[in-house]
Each structure stands twice: as structure tokens, then as C-alpha cells.
Point group: C2
Chain length 299, copies 2
């Protein structure tokens, strides 16, 4: 067994690697169009927990993947996540002014630039997956493009955002909330785990299914914890505007279940996530630790 301190240093090393990978793949600020490239870097660098890349690294270790490959795959997923945040914060969506403790992209630059920043990050994510060698065979790599595109698209993350839009002012059942979040945040979190694993040794169908279950539970737990934090924490702690969900009349786990039962539900999902990894031994150590980190939000 490893200590919390060991996980902390593992995670910090991989967060740093993610940061330097993103630094390297984002166009330099002095390359034209400069303002767009500066705004892209502003939106992506210097913040964020990098949960998706960490999940890619943990899944990569599960499949004995080369960390250099996983760094690129994780960066691609993080670019998709970052683009979705920039678009989500726009006035026509959540209209938020604070993200990662700083003004949102459209506040720091302008709305049109923020729109283009999101679009450019979106394209860049696919360029990375196609440009770098991430798997031994190009067939696997093409599957990775497809996996990321499906996770990001109208039956994945973007679809979840559309469901979220329609849900404002509605009362959703727990099942409906789950359906929304499996798309909105779950799809990309699952993609992060699967892409990390695809960088390594070929897993059996059963192993992939177990990893996917794990990621599905973790993704949902992540969202519930997010809802609880939005209701409980302060803006300073979150680095984004707290209490937005209630203010915007958005259905959340907290509004459906209350804080206490939401926390219990997250704990149950964490338990299910760990159970999905049963029998994997040391290979799945980092995945297990990540599940704890994501639900308990403690290093």
C-alpha cells in the first residue's frame, strides 16, 4: 500500500507534466494571430485540477503505456474540457465572470475572441491525437480520434450541455439528473480513462469494460461532489462563482437529494468505482487513489 503523500507527489508530477505539455502544444503567443493565441493560452494554462489528464495517466499505468504518449492524449482531453468551459462561461450560456480564480476568457478578452478560442482549442485537440504517435498501430489511433469525437459531440458532452440548458427551471428526478451528467461531464471523463489506456498494451474487452465502469462511476461522483461544493463552498475556495446553480435555478443533486444524501450517493459511487477494479491489484493503484481524490477532494 502507498501513502497519501506518495499519491500527492505522483499527482503533482503529472499535473506539472500536463502543464508543460499544454505549454508546448498551444501555439506560441507571438505567432499570428497573436491575440487569439494569447487568449487560448490564457484559457488553458495556469489553473485547473487537471483531473482528466490525471485519469488518463492512471489508466495509462494500468495498461503500461508510455507516459509521453499519455501526456499528449491527456492534453487533448483537457483542451476539449477547456474549450467547453470557455463556451459555457459565455453570456448566452452560464454568463460567468470568474473561472479558476481569474476573469473568464470573454471578460479578459471579448466575447467574439472567447468564441474563437473555444473553437480553436476544439480543433487543436483533434490535431494532437492525429499528429503525435500515440499507439503502436494507426488503426488504434484512429479509434482514439473517434472515441474523443463521440465523447465531445451531440451524444456526449455537447449533448449533455443541451440537456442542461433545457433543464433550467425544471425539477429533474435523480434518474434524469444522472442522464444529464453521464453526458455533460461523464462522457469526457470516460474518454480520458479510455484514451490513456489505449496508449498502452491492448486490454481485453473485459478489462476495458471494467475500466469504463470505473470511469462512469467516478465521473458521476465527480459531478455530485461539484454540486455539493457549489452549494457549500465559498467563491474564493472554488475559484469560480459559488452558489451559481441555485441562483440560476438549475436542478442539481443538492436540490434533488439535499447535501447529506448527495454526499452518501457520491460515497456509494466511489465504492462501486473501486469494486469495478476488483482483481486488478497494483496495476490499478493510481486509479483507486484517484477515485478517492475525486470524491473526497483531498490530497
Amino acid at each position: 500500500m502507498s501513502s497519501p503523500a506518495d499519491f500527492r507527489s505522483w499527482a503533482q508530477a503529472r499535473q506539472s507534466r500536463t502543464e508543460s505539455t499544454l505549454q508546448g502544444v498551444l501555439p506560441a503567443p507571438e505567432i499570428a494571430p497573436q491575440r487569439l493565441h494569447q487568449a487560448m493560452r490564457y484559457a488553458v494554462l495556469g489553473g485547473g485540477k487537471r483531473v482528466r489528464p490525471l485519469l488518463a495517466f492512471a489508466a495509462g499505468e494500468f495498461a503500461q503505456a508510455d507516459p509521453g504518449r499519455v501526456a499528449i492524449a491527456g492534453a487533448a482531453v483537457e483542451l476539449i474540457h477547456a474549450y467547453s468551459l470557455v463556451h459555457d462561461d459565455l453570456p448566452c450560456m452560464d454568463d460567468d465572470v470568474l473561472r479558476r480564480g481569474r476573469p473568464t476568457c470573454h471578460v479578459e478578452y471579448d466575447e467574439a475572441t472567447a468564441l474563437l478560442v473555444g473553437d480553436a482549442l476544439h480543433s487543436l485537440a483533434f490535431q494532437l491525437i492525429a499528429e503525435y504517435r500515440l499507439a503502436d498501430d494507426t488503426t488504434t489511433q484512429l479509434e482514439m480520434v473517434k472515441l474523443l469525437a463521440a465523447a465531445a459531440g451531440s451524444r456526449g458532452m455537447t449533448g449533455g450541455q443541451a440537456i442542461d440548458l433545457d433543464a433550467v427551471g425544471q425539477t429533474l428526478s435523480v434518474a434524469e439528473l444522472e442522464y444529464m451528467h453521464i453526458h455533460k461531464t461523464g462522457a469526457l471523463i470516460r474518454a480520458a480513462a479510455l484514451l490513456g489506456a489505449r496508449c498502452g498494451n491492448r486490454l481485453s474487452e473485459k478489462e476495458l469494460a471494467q475500466l469504463d465502469y470505473f470511469a462512469k462511476y467516478v465521473g458521476l461522483a465527480f459531478q455530485i461532489v461539484d454540486d455539493v461544493l457549489d452549494a457549500e463552498a465559498s467563491t474564493a475556495t472554488l475559484g469560480k462563482t459559488a452558489g451559481k446553480d441555485a441562483q440560476q435555478n438549475k436542478p442539481t443533486y443538492v436540490s434533488a437529494l439535499g447535501v447529506v444524501r448527495s454526499k452518501a450517493f457520491a460515497e456509494e459511487l466511489r465504492h462501486n468505482a473501486l469494486k469495478a477494479l476488483d482483481g486488478f491489484g497494483e496495476r490499478a493503484l493510481r486509479l483507486r487513489q484517484l477515485a478517492d481524490f475525486i470524491v473526497l477532494r483531498k490530497f
Copy 2:
């Protein structure tokens, strides 16, 4: 030599095929999230000249490609084009209410939905290129993903839009206009030609370079003709708001050169485009006819 009537029927058959391909690859309107899927279909289907898919088909014939493959590659490029139009029409960008003779997506639906429509079409384009078999080897197909991502991204189309934003109210030289348009419209037009060709027999470096020159000249000529039409034609003829450029104080070829010299420049570019195809004989017939069609805008 073939007649204009022969080209007309060639183009119409491929426009129909593009339409039915797009019909098939877009999520059905009854699949959840329904409103998003309906809006995606609204934004893509039933309009547009499909110039980029036609170029893909013509380049596909140049490389003896399977038309079924080219139809998918052309549809992917058209999805990127459609997403860019939906985002371009948003209030924070060009704030346009009319497109292809109908209300723009954000007018017919709402701004948030239009934003997500663009994002979902963007992802779908990459999903197509990764999901269908478009080349004999997956290495080539991965190169196609990279080519499309680079053409769409911050050093391609989206970068061109950013340059366009910065140019509002400025006086640009013809060289600066060219730089803007080579990115804004040129990058995707070149990608259409190159992707169509990649679906077929492997071309020599020289052939690819000639095809790329051709597409570069045609893409620029296309933009100049667009500027002239915006200045000269009526809203009814265009299907989009005419006179927007002057109204928004955008630098155009017409503002830089006047109508007469703009037309002469487009004609010169058409000449250069045809010259790039010298020596290719019948293989390049449709490419030549397309250059005429794009510049002269006559069937």
C-alpha cells in the same frame, strides 16, 4: 471538351449526394437531445452551394477515388464550414439574421443552442473522418484528420476569423487582405481538395502541390467574388444580408480595389488556378470546370 450542361448535371448529382450523405450522418431529429439535433439539421441541410464537397468530388476524380469515400470526406468539410457559419452569425460576431434565405440558427432557435450546434457539428466532422473507411491505409486517414484539424484551427480558418475581427474598421492592403482570406476561407477550401484526393490513389508530391496551388487560387478567387457579390447583389439573390461588409466597416477587396479591379483580380486568379492544372488532361476536367463555376458563379 464537355458542355456546360454536362458540368451542370455532374454538379447537381454531387450536390444531391452531399445532401443525402449529410442527411444520413447527422443525428436523427427524434434522437435525444432532440432540440439540439433538430437545430443541427436546420443549420446544415437544405441550402448552400456545397462548393467544398464539389471540390472534394472533383479532386477525388482527379485521383480516381471511390465516390462513396469522397462523399464522407466532403460532408466532413461541409460540417466544419456549417459550424463556422453558425458561430459567425452569432450576435457577438457578425450578428446576422439571414443565412441561405432563412433565419440564422440563433434566430430560429436561441443563442445558446446555436453555440452548441456549432460545437456539435465541429466534433461530428472529426467523428466522420475517423469512423468511415476513407483510405486504404489508416496512416493516410490519420493524416486526413490532421489536415482537417489544421485547416480548421487557429492557424487556419479560426485564425482567419480572428484576423477578420481585428480588421474591422481598419484599412488593409491587398497583401493583408490576402493573408486574411488565405486563412479564413482558403484553408478549408484547400482541405476539401486535398481530402478528396487523399480518398483515391496516392498522388506524387508534385501532383499534390499542383492541386494545392489550384485550390489556393480558387479559394482566394472565391472570396473576391463573394466580396463583389456582397457589394453588388441583393439580399434576395444572396440568401444572406447583402451590403453587410460596408455596413460593418469591414475591409474587402471591393473597398481596397473597387469592383472593376476586384473582378479582374478574380479572373487573374482563375487563370492561375487553371495553369496549375496544366498537363493533367481529362483527369482535371471537373476541377477546371469548378474554377470557372466558382469565379463566374454560373452554371
